[in-house]
């Protein structure tokens, strides 16, 4: 079997549907499991009380917002360099979910900051750079929407996505580089996590759930984009009856 054939929209289209279903099931299972740990197994926090339970969606959403941007830029770059249609479609499909994750991270952050810090919003480096990420996603989508020809839209938006990549390490390291109100990372590759085990487990399971969800919705969206852009292709007309 030649796996490269799936880099063609024609073969990827039916595969994406099967994969999306599987990832949706995983997302649902991990969400139920993660929320169960988050609300019924994980104990109260010693300094923040119950308000810390926002962490189970805040941190996974913030991680996904950065990760999706990196993956989106990766596909955009591949599309730009290799001139492959499906790569650009992947980038296109990821943007709305990335924007949504960024919004969720900001929203839950505000609802967490108000009771703990005493402010919904502050202009510190972490919060500001995450807000810039939201604008980058919105800018990417707006640019795409404003260009009629999809191939030109692919190229222009890819450049915007790549320019914006510098923002991702800024978000991630902002809490180390500058004095911020936002605390440092509880979980990172360079040190052991500073969280009780059940709290950490709940957060990681929720992160998996967000990951699975993002893959599932992006696959559904890429199918929609393929349908729109390949509307005139013979294979789509043939398969429409079977799908």
């Amino acid at each position: 079997m030649n796996i490269w054939k799936y880099s063609s929209p024609q073969y990827f289209y039916p595969l994406a549907k099967k994969m999306a279903t599987i990832f949706f099931v995983f997302a649902a299972v991990f969400t139920v499991w993660g929320l169960y740990i988050g609300f019924f197994v994980a104990p109260t926090d010693f300094q923040q009380g119950e308000s810390y339970r926002i962490i189970f969606i805040h941190v996974p959403a913030a991680w996904m917002s950065m990760l999706i941007y990196l993956i989106m830029s990766f596909w955009a770059a591949i599309g730009l360099i290799m001139n492959t249609r499906l790569s650009s479609m992947m980038a296109h499909a990821l943007a709305p979910t990335g924007a949504l994750m960024t919004f969720v991270a900001l929203w839950t952050g505000a609802f967490w900051g108000r009771p703990t810090w005493g402010a919904w919003w502050v202009w510190d480096a972490r919060l500001t750079s995450e807000l810039i990420l939201l604008f980058l996603y919105i800018g990417y989508m707006a640019l795409r929407a404003s260009i009629e020809d999809p191939r030109r839209a692919d190229r222009a938006s890819a450049i915007l996505a790549l320019v914006g990549v510098v923002n991702v390490p800024i978000i991630y390291f902002s809490v180390q580089w500058w004095n911020t109100l936002h605390q440092g990372a509880s979980v990172s590759l360079t040190k052991s996590p500073s969280m009780a085990t059940s709290m950490l487990t709940g957060m990681l399971v929720m992160a998996l759930a967000f990951w699975m969800y993002s893959i599932a919705v992006s696959l559904i969206r890429v199918r929609r984009i393929i349908r729109d852009r390949e509307a005139n292709a013979a294979w789509l007309a043939e398969s429409s009856g079977a799908q």
Binding site: P43, D45, F46, Q47, G49, V122, W177, N179, Q183, G184
Partner: protein, 147 residues
């Protein structure tokens, strides 16, 4: 050279330049990106003169006093080297506590008192149940006593 190789090189070079540019910009703006100044910086005169700024550090242990009006508080912000006395009228955030992180916005008056119009609590990245926190504190105390 194939067109796709050319494009690859272009993208890589553009990204490298962009990264370099961003680094310079960040270095230049480094001082403007600080959300707060430490008490040491305040004493060294590295804070903006004649305008509001933020100071950050720990609330000094046993420094919190409430005025008779019940809403005005005084405390000291420390970075373990220098202390800045702070006065604030208003509601303190839930996580405001002696020995914990704090960020206050305001300006220094004639008497050298930092008059804050906003006080924010800065918490750390540790999460654990209260029992674990107590156990940790007990262990620290024992360690301190034996040293």
């Amino acid at each position: 050279m194939k067109p796709r190789h050319k494009r690859l090189i272009l993208v890589v070079v553009a990204l490298a330049l962009l990264g370099l540019g961003a680094t310079f910009v960040l270095k230049a703006f480094r001082s403007n990106l600080v959300f707060f100044y430490t008490p040491t910086e305040v004493f060294a005169g590295q804070v903006p003169q004649g305008q509001a700024f933020r100071i950050g550090g720990m609330v000094l242990e046993d420094s919190l006093q409430r005025n008779e009006d019940g809403v005005t508080v005084r405390f000291a912000v420390t970075d373990t080297i220098e202390d800045v006395p702070v006065q604030f009228t208003g509601i303190l955030p839930d996580l405001f506590q002696e020995g914990k992180g704090v960020v206050a916005q305001g300006r220094i008056n004639m008497e050298g008192m930092f008059v804050a119009d906003q006080v924010l609590a800065k918490h750390d990245e540790n999460y654990m149940p209260p029992e674990a926190a107590e156990a940790l504190e007990r262990a620290m105390k024992i360690k301190m006593e034996t040293e």
